[in-house]
């Protein structure tokens, strides 16, 4: 039951002097169980695309299909899409507002019209999923927490709606290294437990660690799509687009330019093995 984008396009403020096309001609199928990373320069349309996945934005051209149904057919279909597809915005902690962590996380399930018992169970589950201790912080104000914890409260608020598809816009932006690792572990676990994840990110090292597929947007159009190994091997093309490349890919590219025999790799473990072979084992290729 994938998400299918059919020739999707979005133009902001049509007919006004500020008319601007953010994305166009995007056809993409997001399969169940993927962890798809959406990368691109600022202004390439990543966030606009992400906001179509749960009908927050309505396409100006093309369609978004969920389980074969156009999600923008009616208000009811839009609302249904929002329960199936959970969107976590950039800096979601700016949107926390309730008096307690428990109430904040329960906001979505309450809107779904669930019973109080069901809401309580879901809030507990969601807090477990992101590693927030229910008894210790559940009754605190979200504003007393650290930045990393606030980010996880916001994530739990979306998870409590039990979405099948989770869309994360820059989930680690502004977090310290420890909080970032913690959050990425959450994402990795949710994915391994069956949630389809779409992650918008500038952090190529995060993308390299997690993604099963990378989609690159350039000036609102789909420029590249493929497994991370294939995408990150194109160091020069990505750099020309103003994008970062994982440090390991940069190293592999640089070493090959030196005439050394290093396979195309992007993960730290692969590079360790490759360098071990080169420097200890077989005959190095000395020019």
């Amino acid at each position: 039951m994938p998400i299918v984008l059919e020739n999707l396009g979005h133009t902001y403020q049509v007919g006004s002097p500020f008319q601007a096309t953010a994305i166009q001609n995007i056809s993409l199928t997001i399969a169940d169980g993927e962890l798809l990373a959406l990368i691109g320069h600022t202004g390439s349309g990543k966030s606009t695309l992400a906001q179509h996945l749960n009908a927050l934005l309505t396409p100006t051209t093309g369609r978004v299909l969920l389980d074969g149904q156009d999600i923008n057919l009616s208000d009811a279909s839009k609302k249904a899409a929002r329960f199936h597809v959970g969107l976590v915005f950039q800096y979601p902690e700016h949107q926390l507002f309730e008096e307690t962590v428990i109430k904040d996380i329960g906001f979505g399930p309450r809107n779904m019209g669930l019973s109080q018992d069901e809401i309580d169970a879901r809030v507990q589950d969601a807090m477990d999923m992101v590693g927030l201790p229910y008894d210790e912080i559940g009754h605190k104000s979200p504003f007393e927490l650290s930045g990393g914890q606030m980010r996880r409260v916001a994530l739990a608020g979306v998870l409590a709606m039990r979405p099948r598809i989770l869309v994360l816009d820059e989930p680690t932006a502004g977090l310290d290294p420890h909080a970032r690792d913690f959050l990425l572990q959450d994402v990795k676990r949710l994915h391994s437990e069956g949630t389809t994840v779409v992650m918008v990110s500038h952090s190529m090292d995060d993308v390299a660690r997690l993604a099963t597929r990378v989609v690159v947007l350039e000036r609102g159009e789909l420029a590249m799509s493929g497994p991370p190994r294939e995408i990150f091997s194109q160091v020069e093309r990505l750099t020309a687009m103003g994008l970062d490349v994982p440090a390991v890919s940069q190293l592999a590219h640089g070493l090959r330019a030196e005439g050394l025999e290093i396979p195309n790799c992007y993960l730290m473990e692969e590079m360790v093995d490759a360098l071990e072979r080169l420097l200890k084992g077989g005959a190095p290729d000395v020019a």
């Binding site: 320069h41 600022t42 502004g174 310290d176 440090a247 071990e276």
Partner: protein
């Protein structure tokens, strides 16, 4: 009266209100003029408090802070210290006050009473120092995050400061915006000998500094060149930070018996070292 040090903390403790959290504990620190210092630490380690102590936004509960020999707790120095030690914050959108870039840069000058005849020249010089002169008549809210941060820096430069304190100024920027802002500040540091205190969560940015200071629980726990500090990977991790990816790779290779020499911080360092070893093998 200005001692050898430009920015100086002498046994400083800072407590948020009576009985509140002690954010900085008996910390002493001396930064010479023209040094580029990266200040690292996990959230809550006290680094933002130090930033605010350095330009007199906060005054110490115990101890003294001096900027060019001026005590930040002495009310008569307040404006002079803020002019000399300018601060850039994390969120570019919270730092914009005007509808035109030029007016935004003028804001600080008006505050310190610069005669209006002098303003245009200072504004244009400051904008040209951050490579934003061509945007002088544009609306700041339509610029990218990196451009907005460079406008914020220009607003400080127009006041002819001696130090720049940047509190996670790149945290909300994309990779190219981060690179632009860091390059701009690095250049101002070399060309104008402006002292820089650069607070960041990006370890790779800290490798560009002259000196790295790591804070933990309100104290400076590590202090040295980037190579010295990042060579102690286990200690860094103990303070809930990380080492740059290439330093991590070097560490793993050493643990597998590959004798990499030197302290590796960047991809270029690693390429050089692998080339040396491969051609010797």
């Amino acid at each position: 009266m200005a001692g050898p040090f430009h920015l100086q903390l002498d046994h400083v403790t800072y407590q948020y209100e009576q009985g509140g959290k002690t954010a900085v504990k008996d910390m002493s620190l001396a930064i010479p003029r023209g040094q580029f210092v990266a200040l690292l630490g996990h959230n809550g380690s006290g680094k933002s408090t130090v930033a605010k102590l350095l330009n007199g936004l906060f005054t110490p509960t115990v101890g003294t802070v001096q900027v060019s020999g001026m005590d930040t707790a002495d009310p008569k120095f307040v404006w002079e210290i803020r002019r000399r030690a300018g601060m850039v914050f994390q969120n570019p959108d919270n730092q914009i006050v005007a509808t035109q870039v030029r007016d935004d840069v003028a804001f600080g000058l008006e505050n310190i009473g610069v005669p209006s005849a002098e303003m245009p020249e200072r504004i244009e010089r400051a904008l040209s120092d951050v490579n934003m002169l061509e945007f002088a008549d544009r609306a700041p809210h339509l610029l990218s995050g990196g451009q907005k941060q460079r406008i914020a820096i220009a607003g400080i430069l127009a006041m002819e400061p001696e130090a720049l304190i940047l509190d996670e100024a790149t945290a909300m920027l994309d990779p190219s915006g981060r690179k632009d802002v860091l390059e701009t500040v690095r250049r101002l540091n070399t060309e104008k000998q402006i002292t820089v205190v650069w607070i960041t969560h990006f370890m790779q940015e800290a490798t560009q500094a002259d000196r790295v200071i790591v804070m933990h629980e309100g104290s400076a726990v590590m202090d040295g060149t980037p190579r010295e500090v990042f060579a102690q990977a286990d200690m860094i991790r103990g303070y809930r930070l990380d080492v740059p990816p290439m330093t991590k790779l070097a560490e793993t290779l050493r643990s597998r018996g590959i004798a990499l020499s030197g302290d590796i911080l960047s991809v270029d360092d690693m390429i050089g070292e692998v080339r040396r070893l491969a051609h010797r093998a």
